[in-house]
């Protein structure tokens, strides 16, 4: 039996070997059957293969992931750190862009007024427990900043230098309740005193009993001797409301400042002003508001109703 089995398997071996060699010969001779059979297999298996491939795709990098696990972790930590740095940089860039824009406006205003200025960044704001409204700027006596110099923002007056160190200065904001400044109404040339009230509102009291104030009047700084503490011609604010009180000799008004002191980032300290100042050159020009035009088109005449026409016939 065993010998018969051996013979059978030997015969099978020979047949299969010959078949294989025959197939190899056919393939090497370029018979298309073999090529076609491979193509047919490919077209049959492709859709299934695609599905299996999708199913097994996550395991593709299993070994490399395991091998690089520690490395990946370190890389991830490094990338997170780098990302945080870049985010900081982006925020800083945005801040710098904002500050640059403000600085440009400040310099534009200073240029129009022919003021010689020292620009500075606001590096601190006075604490509320001191009850005084101040800011700290990063320019000091080394930069030519001295006490009682006018400080301006992108839209007008901000305050006055209260004290200086070599590299910084403290500015008393115009909103401080102790702040007083002589102002001139651009329209009527009446003069008065503007007082801070601790918030964004200011009180104006005219000095001339015959002077007139109107809502929307622009106030400019009157100026001081030797331009200290205030240079002349700097926009201060505009009249928000006129108080009609018969009890006082002079007119009073409520004023709103041009500068938004709450979001101030860059300021300029006026170190020198031209003789006589810019006069009225710095009066803010009102921005034109777009006008709405409405066109009225006549609608077509409605046709007479059937009841009306029958009445007409009768």
């Amino acid at each position: 039996m065993a010998g018969g089995g051996n013979n059978r398997s030997r015969l099978l071996l020979v047949i299969l070997l010959v078949t294989s060699l025959f197939l190899i010969t056919l393939d090497l001779r370029g018979v298309s059957i073999t090529k076609n059979s491979r193509n047919a297999t490919q077209s049959f298996l492709a859709p299934i293969q695609r599905g299996v491939s999708d199913l097994f795709s996550p395991v593709g990098n299993f070994f490399s992931d395991v091998k690089n696990f520690g490395k990946t972790k370190t890389e991830l930590r490094d990338l997170k750190r780098e990302n945080a740095k870049l985010r900081k940089k982006v925020i800083l860039n945005k801040d710098t862009t904002g500050q640059l824009k403000k600085l440009k406006n400040v310099l534009d205003l200073a240029g129009r007024g022919s003021y010689k200025v020292v620009s500075a960044r606001v590096i601190g704001k006075g604490s509320s427990y001191t009850f005084s409204q101040t800011i700290t700027i990063d320019a000091g006596s080394n930069d030519g900043v001295k006490k009682d110099m006018t400080v301006m923002g992108e839209l007008g007056l901000v305050g006055v230098v209260k004290s200086t160190t070599a590299t910084s200065a403290i500015v008393l904001l115009m909103s401080d309740p102790t702040f007083r400044i002589g102002v001139r109404i651009a329209r009527s040339q009446s003069i008065g005193v503007l007082m801070g009230e601790g918030d964004s509102n200011y009180a104006l009291q005219l000095l001339d009993p015959s002077g007139s104030i109107e809502k929307g009047d622009v106030l400019l700084s009157l100026g001081s001797d030797n331009n200290k503490p205030f240079v002349p011609g700097l926009p201060v604010g505009y009249v928000k409301d006129v108080k009609n009180t018969s009890a006082t000799l002079t007119q009073e008004a409520s004023v709103r400042s041009y500068s938004n002191l709450g979001s101030i980032g860059v300021v300029s300290v006026i170190v020198k002003s031209t003789n006589g100042g810019p006069k009225d050159a710095l009066i803010p020009r009102p921005t034109p508001t777009p006008t709405t035009t409405i066109y009225v088109t006549q609608s077509p005449t409605p046709e007479a109703s059937p009841s009306q026409s029958s009445k007409a016939k009768n």
């Binding site: 078949t19 294989s20 197939l23 491979r38």
Partner: protein, 156 residues
């Protein structure tokens, strides 16, 4: 299909692992002489039909028929693999390595360009190592499957 869609995509260190060869050689090792030769030929034809195969059609069938014959010859001297799992694993791993070596030698005979010898040897050795590692997981299941498909006459 699983071999090409999944296993081949895994970036194994050193070299790849052929699940198909491992299973086929495991099955061939469990068969008798006649079965091993027939299974080798059929397995070879399937490999030849593989679209990714670049060798002449019939080459795999020729090699695996020969390997089937060699398996059946050596199996008789080793005895029953179901009782000697370690020998079974070593046998299959050695078989996988030998198959690839024979494939390379036949390639040289047929004038095929298989690339640098060092790379080829790395592939052969790497495949042998991975077969050794994976066959210890796969082959017990294969033995059980084989026992399940045996006819009652074969069981006796």
């Amino acid at each position: 299909m699983i071999q090409e869609a999944a296993i081949s995509k895994i970036n194994f260190p050193i070299s790849g692992f052929s699940l198909y060869l491992c299973v086929l050689l495991g099955l061939m090792a469990l068969e008798d002489k006649f079965g091993a030769i027939a299974l080798g030929f059929i397995g070879g034809i399937i490999l030849d039909l593989s679209p990714s195969s670049d060798s002449p059609f019939g080459k795999w069938s020729l090699i695996l028929t020969l390997v089937g014959y060699l398996f059946s010859r050596n199996r008789e001297s080793i005895g029953d693999f179901t009782e000697r799992p370690v020998a079974f694993i070593l046998f299959v791993s050695a078989g996988a390595t030998s198959t690839l070596l024979i494939f390379l030698i036949f390639g040289i005979i047929l004038g095929e360009n298989n690339g640098a010898i060092l790379n080829n040897l790395q592939t052969v050795v790497g495949n042998g190592i991975w077969t050794l590692l994976f066959s210890s997981i796969l082959l017990p299941g294969l033995v059980k499957l084989r026992q399940f498909t045996l006819t009652s006459r074969e069981r006796i």
